[in-house]
């Protein structure tokens, strides 16, 4: 399947992130068209496009927008989730650096559609250059009359606030993000009510991912049917894939949903020379891993479901035969343990229990019964935690055990670092073999 540059089509121009650079390539033409449309017609166009949320959950975007009650007399808000923190996910940060104006134009159109007059971009705090770039992009848009009062004489007003977070993976969960944006600890809230009804300041709020909103202008200009002509039946459109890890040419690749991992690996120059694929994780560390057997599965929501995993963020991490699965899984559990917000018991306690047992197996001091205990712990967390972080923490281990049982069994007598020399996995030279 061919690559389809769309959001990334002009990244080779030095000013693609400015209004001037963007306007050379149809920038802000969609806004002019949108401001003459009925807001509900915009929502209709989004529904027709089949665009689904690109943050990982894949909820249909047009439907989400249509859930915002109209004529309710309350302020409405659009909040862009730019808290990209899922291990493996690295597509929204490049998009904000190089396609800042796609995002801003999409935000104006989305705000007009849901009748919001204030929109926010919640960016993870650890990326000052991205925060600078987005602040500058918003100023650029104000200076060109695309933000503020009476945009392009339409009578529509919109202000955008760029917000920097402070280092909390949980804030990628939409209700935790809203808590954080309200100046509280970033802990999730009970749903329902969903944000579309009671979101920011208990007002109707749409929370969408960066890539989702940046995809909107081209859909409005070209029509929902144009966008829907790409991808598969249930996964329409184009996706920004980020391929990382033990490949020769890691990077960003834009292609229709339904492309396969084998094809993406080809574009990324294959597995690093002299090595073989061991496993890959498509949707971030929170989804079950896959192996060579799944290279021809469609990278689509339904295609990944069919092989027992999830498309998630569609940012595959690739690991070769030098890597210990036990080490990788233990590292991810260290992460979930660190990032668990502490609100609910299954996740707060469970991540610590899982992590302890995994560390024992990693150091070669595990017990045979730990393998089953771990499965049981994961089953006790899955579906019983307050939000998806607990589910995510319970996901990597069971699949890894299914696929690489012998490595976990070895954890009862041999350390992972003795089975797999960590120096062999390092991509630069000069690290001594242990």
């Amino acid at each position: 399947m061919a690559l389809t540059p769309n959001l990334t089509a002009h990244w080779d121009e030095p000013d693609s992130y400015t209004v001037a650079g963007y306007e050379r390539h149809y920038g802000y033409q969609a806004l002019r068209k949108a401001l003459e449309m009925d807001p509900d017609a915009i929502i209709g166009e989004l529904k027709e496009s089949g665009l689904r949320g690109r943050g990982g959950a894949g909820f249909p975007t047009g439907m989400k927008w249509s859930f915002v009650p109209q004529g309710d007399g309350k302020p409405h808000y659009l909040v862009v989730n730019a808290d990209e923190s899922e291990p493996g996910a690295c597509k929204d940060i490049p998009l904000m650096l190089a396609s800042s104006q796609h995002l801003i134009e999409g935000m104006i159109i989305a705000s007009y559609a849901i009748r919001a007059n204030h929109a926010f971009v919640y960016i993870r705090g650890e990326v000052p250059h991205v925060i600078r770039r987005m602040h500058a992009a918003v100023r650029d848009a104000y200076d060109n009359g695309y933000l503020g009062k009476n945009i392009l004489g339409s009578g529509f007003d919109l202000d955008i606030t760029v917000h920097g977070g402070a280092g909390a993976y949980i804030c990628g969960e939409e209700t935790a993000l809203l808590s954080s944006l309200e100046g509280m600890r970033g802990q999730p809230r009970l749903k329902p009510p969903f944000p579309a009804v009671a979101g920011l300041y208990a007002c109707p709020t749409v929370v969408n991912n960066v890539e989702t909103i940046a995809s909107v202008p081209a859909i409005i200009r070209n029509g929902g049917d144009w966008y829907a002509s790409y991808g598969t039946e249930k996964s329409k459109g184009i996706k920004v894939f980020a391929v990382s890890g033990h490949v020769n040419n890691p990077g960003i690749f834009e292609a229709p949903l339904g492309i396969t991992m084998r094809e993406l690996l080809g574009y990324a120059g294959g597995i690093r020379d002299g090595h073989n694929l061991k496993f890959f994780v498509v949707g971030g560390s929170s989804v079950p891993m896959l192996t060579e057997d799944h290279l021809d599965a469609e990278l689509s929501y339904e295609g990944m479901e069919a092989v027992g995993t999830m498309l998630g963020t569609a940012t595959p991490m690739v690991f070769d035969e030098t890597v210990s699965v036990v080490r990788a899984i233990t590292g991810w559990l260290d992460f979930y343990k660190h990032e668990s917000c502490g609100k609910c018991t299954p996740c707060r306690e469970g991540t610590w229990w899982i992590d302890q047992l995994l560390h024992n197996l990693k150091s070669g001091t595990g017990k045979t019964e730990d393998l089953a205990t771990l499965n049981e712990l994961c089953a006790q967390i899955l579906g019983r935690s307050f939000c998806a972080l607990g589910d995510a923490a319970a996901t990597p281990y069971p699949q890894a055990l299914n696929l690489f049982r012998s490595e976990f069994e070895a954890g009862t007598h041999t350390a992972a670092d003795d089975l797999f020399d960590p120096a062999a996995s390092v991509v630069f030279s000069g690290v001594k073999t242990s």
Partner: protein
């Protein structure tokens, strides 16, 4: 260093970005860190007074987030991603070398107050693994040797440039940028997109795969 009237004025400016004052706490606490090098008790009290909360409530927020520090950070902050992919591709080796060379552990600062090191979580720079940061600016595709060179330069006060951003300015200056204060550096890092970001576009152009957006109906 005591917080000045100009800091108070800047904190009050940040509040104006939001419909409700409390929403400003994230950037306000970053601004406090840019002045104090950490979230000081005095900074917490000032934020609390400005947004109309008790200091305990603001401290309760500050203590939740990893980026807010309770002890002063060094002149420069070095982050090494040790999340599995970066860690396995070399991040663990880089952190170990750094820790060994400097004689400090995670979240500790050298005696001269110059450098703090931290094991950080996924930095959304996985295509550049192993990914590291200096003053939270991207230092992509790091190696042990390159990191030693960076540390040498930082200690000598020589310029160090981010791979996808400006010359690093110090931890406090980056905290100001995170708080959203304009430092005029948004255009820096003259490269808009680098080879990694352009990988797919480059392949597409080489293989004659056109951009799909023709401008609309």
């Amino acid at each position: 260093m005591a917080l000045t009237e100009s800091t108070r004025a800047e904190l009050e400016e940040i509040v104006k970005r939001y419909p409700q004052p409390r929403s400003a706490l994230n950037p306000m606490l970053h601004l406090v860190q840019s002045e104090e090098g950490y979230v000081s008790p005095e900074g917490i009290e000032l934020c609390a007074e400005i947004v109309g909360l008790s200091p305990a409530e603001v401290a309760g927020v500050a203590s939740f987030y990893t980026m807010y520090k309770r002890r002063p950070v060094g002149q420069h902050h070095i982050g090494v991603c040790v999340n599995p992919q970066c860690g396995i591709l070399g991040g663990e080796a880089i952190f170990d070398a750094l820790s060994n060379d400097l004689g400090i552990g995670n979240d500790e600062t050298t005696e001269d107050g110059k450098i703090t090191i931290e094991r950080i979580e996924c930095q959304a720079a996985c295509t550049y693994a192993p990914s590291t940061t200096v003053d939270w600016e991207f230092m992509d595709d790091m190696t042990v040797d390159k990191m030693r060179d960076v540390v040498d330069k930082l200690r000598k006060g020589e310029p160090v440039k981010s791979t996808r951003g400006p010359e690093v300015q110090g931890f406090r200056a980056s905290e100001r940028a995170i708080a959203g204060m304009d430092d005029g550096l948004a255009e820096s890092g003259s490269n808009n997109a680098d080879a990694v970001m352009l990988r797919g576009l480059t392949v597409a152009k080489e293989q004659g795969m056109p951009a799909v957006d023709g401008g609309g109906k």
